[in-house]
Amino acid sequence: MYLEHLEIKGFRNYRQGSVSLGPGVSIIVGRNGAGKTSLLEAAQYSICGKSFRTSRDAEMVREGSGFLRVSAAIETGGVKRSRLVSLQPGQPATVDQGGGPRWEQAGSVLCFSPDDLQLVKGAPAERRRFVDEAVSRRRPAYQKLAGDYQKVLSQRNRFLQRARAGIVRLADISPWDRQLMSLAFQIHDEREEYCRTLSPAFAEAYDRISGGSGSAEAVYRSQLQAHAGEEDREAAAVRELEQQWGGDLERGATSIGTHRDDIEFRVGGKNMRVFGSQGEQRSTVLALLLAEAVTESPGGERPLLLLDDVLSELDPDRRGRLLGALGNGFRSQVIITAADYNLIPVGGCEAAVVLEIGQDGLIRAAEAGDV
């Protein structure tokens, strides 16, 4: 995915704005409130119809404007198209897709904003969602699988509550147990496979950002792993679940399954969720994003990376190395925002183009003296 040109009208604080981008790394500089994040948001919205900042589309329409319009010239798989997306609050967006799909796949644009730190720091559900979304992009049937698992899990939990109330016999839970474990192992295998391919790419990306060597890994943790290598692992897991009936009944919840999975990001043996510093956690998320971008998707098309304000929290060494990692044979187009020229490391990336947002919404190349 290559976003060549973007034009926006009535979007957030933009009355009007436009930018032309190169296929490599672009750094957009502007003071606070100049519209850097909004520009990334407009790029994502025009391509995927989603925003990483809001789920309410109307929020993106400039106050007093009544509508927004974003046109984008993009290239995917060697084909150039222009798209025009318009939105009036209260109505669905209209899309002139220029012969392409109405919306590109969610994975064709990967965003990082400071909030994404939750991926490392937050609850396991955040990490499961990251993996599930990545697996779904590669295998669309996975979505139905995950949906079925959720359904069976809710049915089983409700069954436990009904059994506790004496409405049903606990022994009749067995069909739900078996179906849950059958789906759980299918999910387990997909997640495990994904983490196995992600881990080396994650290690490489982390090294490039941190300057370390080969000690990072993404480790999949699942209760179901206890049954790996057993002859009938599904039956074994069902038996284990049966042994939990008493406790499950008391809690009205299911104690074993892929809904308890987690993914551990380790660096030098340290779990980043618990022991990582702010900077290390930030590097971890960035490394994951980079790893996800290079892990080959079925079409082989590289996603567009939007990195909002990632430089300010990294030390100068890491800033330089991050830009080096993104610029050097990375193949994905990258757009980075920064509040200050000082954040751009000297010589950190010859390949990067630095742009500045002017008062008029025009975004033009920074002058040599600025950098």
Binding site: A141, K144, D172, P175, Q179
Partner: protein
């Protein structure tokens, strides 16, 4: 705005599945325009269906008599029982024309979230039918979703020792283009492929 009887009719019609207030209005005005005999026939048909239709005592299909037409038909294979969730599930199987056995209608599928437990389905009655003897195979044709699957597993457990239990295959619809099949269906068809 409308006379009370018309309003009442619209209210009743809009309770029907797939009928909203707008469609209900259209139907109500249509009925007002039709001759009296025709509307009388419709009203009578609705009354009749509730008065004359009951459940077959053996298979719980809809029936006018004690036993439904399938259960009364001695030419049908008495050693085969096909288990379905609802009476309307029988229609596509009959249209297929290949099945010559009997049916058993459960009246739903297990779903704790909807308060449907084993005793709400006609499972005990199915066990009794098998217990009477003469049945060689029970084909479970519940829907291929999570509820239908659990129901199938539950019934299979109860019957496995007594009789051969089979489950309908699932996969690609016949006559449809592969291109239009959804990913989950293709995935399932692939895992259930057979050698030629």
């Amino acid at each position: 705005m409308l006379p009370a009887p018309v309003e009442q009719l619209i209210t009743e019609l809009s309770k029907l599945p797939g009928i909203g207030r707008r469609s209900a209005q259209r139907i109500a005005f249509h009925l007002l325009r039709r001759p009296r005999e025709e509307t009388q026939q419709l009203a009578q048909a609705i009354v009749d269906v509730k008065e004359r239709i009951r459940f077959c005592e053996r298979c719980f299909n809809y029936s006018e008599e004690e036993l439904c037409s399938f259960c009364r038909d001695a030419r049908r294979d008495q050693s085969l029982i096909c288990v379905v969730e609802e009476p309307n599930d029988i229609i596509p199987i009959e249209k297929g024309g290949d099945y010559r056995g009997l049916y058993h209608v459960l009246g739903g599928a297990l779903s704790p979230l909807d308060g449907v437990d084993p005793e709400h389905l006609r499972i005990r009655e199915l066990l009794a039918r098998v217990g009477e003897g003469g049945v060689e195979e029970v084909i479970i044709a519940t829907n291929p979703n999570t509820s239908g699957e659990s129901t199938a597993l539950y019934i299979a457990d109860l019957l496995r020792e007594k009789v051969k239990v089979t489950r309908l295959a699932s996969g690609l619809p016949v006559g449809a283009d592969l291109e239009y099949a959804d990913e989950a269906t293709v995935s399932r068809a692939l895992s259930g492929r057979r050698e030629l």
